[in-house]
């Protein structure tokens, strides 16, 4: 560090301490989760002291293992049901809204754009409270038609999922631009044909990414789903985890259930990537476009 001018270091060289922080962070972020998953194989009732390996909480125990306990299996089925409804409603609605918001100029369009962002910047408890109040207090159609339980849960989940779909699809629309559709129109396609034959295939990666995100949002959601629930038949896995996480009598079967939740999400990712590889790639702009679309979520804030 004397005055002798040192040759310029490679400015992109690796500072060791940043690398250490990064890897420590990753260990800290992932190892607790791995430990919790490992405890689903604990050969004892404890969720904090290791007592040897067994699969009793997965299968062995005739009453308490997850696949023999109807509470657990029902929560899993209900979580998947809600996710399916959420995808089927939120993705088409969101794609249409994204197309509309991207191209509709005129009175009301900027208000609609702002409205679309509201669910993204509202803490979930605010949405949950407001939906609960409107469904339980407002005696006007259509709110009286929605009962707490599955219908209210689906509506709540679609409401917060919708904006994510819009953001992902709009990011993709901006990349695609208008030329392809214009070319189709010049070649004689009607607006509907240009949309169906040209734009929709180009949007496929974004639609797949939306489906995946909506699936993950739905299956992981706790607050809105819990506020909109009614009886124990509308309990989802996150609700079950929340209710039993602190219970002294809870067994490692709870860890197994949480692991199932993660495996389900991973399966969702795998299916989305398989579909993406099957018919999304043709239309994609590059290998990492799915990653780009997902990180495009950052533009939402």
């Amino acid at each position: 560090m004397k005055l002798t001018p040192k040759p310029l270091r490679n400015p992109w060289g690796k500072p060791r301490f940043l690398a250490v922080i990064t890897w420590l962070y990753i260990v800290w972020a992932l190892v607790p989760v791995l430990i919790a998953m490992l405890f689903s194989f604990n050969n004892g009732r404890s969720r904090s002291v290791w007592q040897g390996f067994s699969i009793r909480w997965w299968w062995g125990d005739p009453n308490l293992s997850i696949f023999h306990n109807p509470d657990y299996t029902h929560a899993l089925v209900h979580s998947l049901t809600l996710a399916a409804f959420d995808i089927v409603i939120a993705v088409p609605l969101g794609v249409l809204l994204a197309l509309g918001l991207a191209r509709w100029r005129g009175r009301g369009s900027s208000a609609a754009n702002g409205l679309m962002l509201v669910p993204l910047i509202t803490p979930e408890i605010v949405m949950a409270v407001s939906l609960l109040l409107v469904f339980t207090q407002l005696a006007i159609v259509p709110f009286t038609l929605v009962h707490l339980g599955t219908p209210a849960q689906v509506i709540g989940q679609v409401t917060f999922s919708l904006s994510y779909v819009v953001v992902i699809v709009r990011a993709r629309l901006a990349v695609i631009g208008g030329e392809y559709e214009e070319a189709a129109r010049d070649l004689g396609a009607t607006p509907v044909q240009a949309l169906r034959l040209v734009l929709l295939p180009l949007l496929m990666p974004a639609i797949l990414a939306s489906m995946l995100i909506v699936f993950a949002l739905s299956i992981d959601d706790f607050v809105v789903t819990q506020y909109m629930s009614s009886t124990s038949t509308t309990t989802t896995i996150p609700m079950f985890l929340y209710a039993n996480a602190r219970g002294g009598t809870t067994t490692p079967a709870l860890n197994a259930l949480a692991t199932v939740l993660v495996l389900t999400t991973l399966l969702g990712i795998a299916i989305a990537y398989a579909l993406y590889a099957a018919f999304g790639r043709r239309a994609s702009t590059g290998d990492t476009s799915m990653v780009r679309e997902l990180s495009g979520l950052e533009a939402t804030a």
């Binding site: 922080i21 430990i35 002291v49 249409l96 803490p123 408890i125 609960l132 207090q137 607006p191 997902l294």
Partner: protein, 298 residues
């Protein structure tokens, strides 16, 4: 493009219509329901009755909620806890998240793809599982206390009973992935030639970082902060799971108790409005700063 066609105006509006109707029904009307409940009354059976008609609004609960949220008030401990826990978690997000995002964006080479994958994994792991993991580690017979006694610290605190540090740790653990990814994306987009230019013009690496990289990463840091602060302000379940004690109650816990626990829904709704007012102050700052950055970097 299709604006050429005569039909285009109403054509595209038609696409947006179902979504806009949905948002009006399930975002706008419910927001009004909160206001109506906050300005409502209770009947003779103590059942909360919302005031749908603005001429019948009763300001009592709102003023109770707002005055109670000031220092010394009934809800001030919850407001203070919220500000302190969120503030501490955000600071730690900066302290840990920025170096991590910076390293992955700027220095990781062969490992970059692997690191991005590892950073994304927490997104796909259920939040509840990640809390469950810490409940196991922090329990009295868990690995954290075992580690502490191994290094000679006996009598460790009860981590899971009203411990503010545990709550901050859990909030940080829960939300930092949402901070790192947008910050990484922002840093990754910074044009390296700008930093090269600074170096060519004689800046030391440190100067180049302070004068170029840091100002250019401000928009991403703001976005990352907003992404973690907004949900943290409304969080109550992290606290319920990790602390389960009224000592560490945050604003979200108070709201949840009033709305789901007791009959005082009017107060719960009023506290929702308090929460939104606090957040809109933050959002105004965010919008103002973002607009300034947009002008500066345009």
């Amino acid at each position: 493009m299709s604006e050429r066609t005569a039909t285009s105006g109403s054509y595209w509006r038609g696409f947006a219509l179902p979504g806009v109707v949905w948002l009006c029904l399930f975002v706008v009307v419910p927001a009004y329901a909160v206001l109506a409940m906050a300005t409502g009354r209770v009947n003779i059976l103590l059942t909360p009755i919302p005031a749908w008609d603005p001429t019948t609004w009763n300001p009592g609960y709102l003023s109770k909620a707002f005055s109670g949220s000031l220092p010394g008030g009934e809800y001030w401990p919850a407001v203070r806890n919220t500000l302190v826990y969120v503030g501490a978690s955000l600071l730690l997000c900066f302290a840990i998240g920025y170096p991590v995002a910076y390293y992955v964006a700027r220095h990781a080479r062969r490992t970059k793809k692997l690191l991005i994958t590892l950073l994304v994994i927490p997104f796909w792991v259920s939040y509840l599982l990640r809390m469950l993991a810490w409940i196991g580690l922090l329990s009295t017979d868990g690995y954290i206390n075992k580690l502490l006694s191994d290094i000679g610290i006996s009598n460790p605190p009860n981590w899971l009973d009203g411990n503010a540090y545990s709550v901050i740790l859990a909030l940080l653990y829960g939300y930092i992935p949402y901070f790192i990814l947008p910050v990484f994306a922002g840093l990754d987009r910074i044009d390296r030639s700008q930093i090269e230019a600074a170096r060519d013009l004689g800046a030391t690496p440190f100067q180049a970082f302070m004068r170029v990289t840091l100002p250019l990463s401000r928009p991403a840091l703001l976005a990352g902060s907003a992404l973690v602060v907004l949900p943290m302000f409304g969080d109550y379940y992290t606290n319920d799971l990790i602390s389960a004690s009224p000592r560490t109650n945050m604003l979200g816990n108070e709201i949840n108790l009033f709305i789901q626990g007791g009959p005082e829904k009017n107060l719960g709704a009023s506290l929702v409005i308090v929460l939104m007012v606090i957040l809109s102050i933050g959002m105004l700052y965010y919008v103002f700063q973002t607009a300034r950055d947009a002008r500066r970097f345009a």
